[in-house]
């Protein structure tokens, strides 16, 4: 379970959001500039709230009143960015293996094979990020985040930088991931996308939560 109750001032923009999510896939819905990315950056620990609490499965990640801030690398929260952010100096195989190495996890080739199969990235393993298409890059980024064995996966408009055709190419993989059962927070401004993926919706408007509930709040 994810519990968020934070405030953050970013220049002129103020973000004040509180929600709890039991859902497997929490859809964070809102127009651009609504504060979605700032909110998941706080969940990831990349941004510190001015005030408030973030807790995941009973563990406090942020609590400003107690001075608690768990740094991103100790949160075990995976993050798939809109722009993939693959490491340009590493090939696909090394990118995928990065989280395992940093967390000093044992080599788990069955997990590795399962995820490369799930995302169909086996044929890309020896390529460099510069030699991948946008859709391929995004699939590798997904695989990289998953292989670090996160307890929660954040996805920030993972289809945002792709054209319609490419979106259709990635969406089935995201559905497969959801059915794998890993909890996700999925950020999007596209209601249709969220209707397909999310089990619970948090609607955000100008830094405030305006609606909470099942996918029917999207209508």
């Amino acid at each position: 379970m994810l519990r968020v109750d934070v405030t953050k001032q970013l220049g002129e923009f103020s973000l004040e959001a509180a929600f709890e999510s039991q859902g497997r896939v929490t859809g964070l819905f809102g127009a651009s500039g609504a504060g979605k990315t700032s909110l998941i950056n706080m969940i990831a620990g990349l941004l510190r709230p001015d005030r408030g609490v973030i807790a995941l499965d009973g563990e406090t990640l942020d609590d400003t009143s107690k001075g608690i801030h768990v740094p991103p690398h100790r949160r075990r929260i995976g993050y798939v960015f809109q722009d993939a952010r693959l490491f340009p100096h590493l090939d696909v195989r090394q990118n995928l293996d990065y989280g395992r190495r940093m967390n000093r996890l044992a080599v788990d080739s069955s997990q590795h094979n399962r995820i490369t199969d799930l995302l169909d990235i086996g044929p890309l393993l020896d390529r460099r990020p510069g030699q991948l298409s946008g859709g391929e890059r995004q699939r590798v980024a997904l695989g990289r985040a998953l292989l670090s064995k996160p307890r929660l996966l954040l996805l920030d408009e993972p289809l945002g930088s792709l054209d319609e055709g490419r979106k259709e190419e990635i969406l089935p993989y995201l559905v497969r991931l959801r059915d794998e059962g890993i909890p996700m927070v999925y950020v999007s401004h596209d209601a249709a996308e969220l209707r397909q993926l999310a089990t619970q919706i948090v609607m955000l408007k100008r830094g405030r939560v305006t609606a909470l509930g099942g996918v029917k709040v999207l209508t």
Binding site: G45, P72, I77, G78, R85, F87, P88, M102, R128, A145
Partner: protein, 231 residues
Amino acid sequence: MFEISPAEWTAILLSLRVAVVATLVATPFGIALAWLLARREFWGKSILDALVHLPLVLPPVVTGYLLLLTFGRRGLVGAWLADNLGIVFAFRWTGAALACGIMSFPLLVRPIRLSIEAIDRRLEQASSTLGAAPWQVFATVTLPLALPGVLAGMVLGFAKAIGEFGATITFVSNIPGETQTISSAIYSLIQTPDGDTAAGRLVLISIVIAMGALIASEWFARRATKRLHGN
């Protein structure tokens, strides 16, 4: 014309040794300082920045004299190092290396700093969400991506160190076999009546070394761009 005498060889090899040691010892400090200047905000940052660049604008003889006052036999640091650790800089080749290291430091730091500043910080964020502690982020993302800049800085620093003259001769004098580098050998030769040919040889050699260093540095800079684009 192209017969290099043993004395000239001694000067060439000493120059190379001094420049290599100066560059290798200065590099870790250069990386640390470049990272600090590129990535951290702190009180006195502009003073530190100015201090790093000082040897570039100060007359070399001043830097050499300050080194003599500090690291000489009776200098504050020099006396302590000699008494407690047995390290002597004054009139030794190690002193020449120290002078060259300090004189070339601004040239070493600059390309490293620029290449660290050019790295997309969002890659470092991605690295931390994958479980990398700050030092791991530095070792596995920042440093490898800055590596071509580090090498370019080392090459430039090396080229500067091998040509250093003013600070070196002021600090450790011009002793053949101990502190006489190519530059100070040329200086001595052009002051002796028939030293012209020998001086010409050494001049040619220093041009070759400097050109080689600049070409290598250019090559590393081009590699840096390629690497950052992930091809």
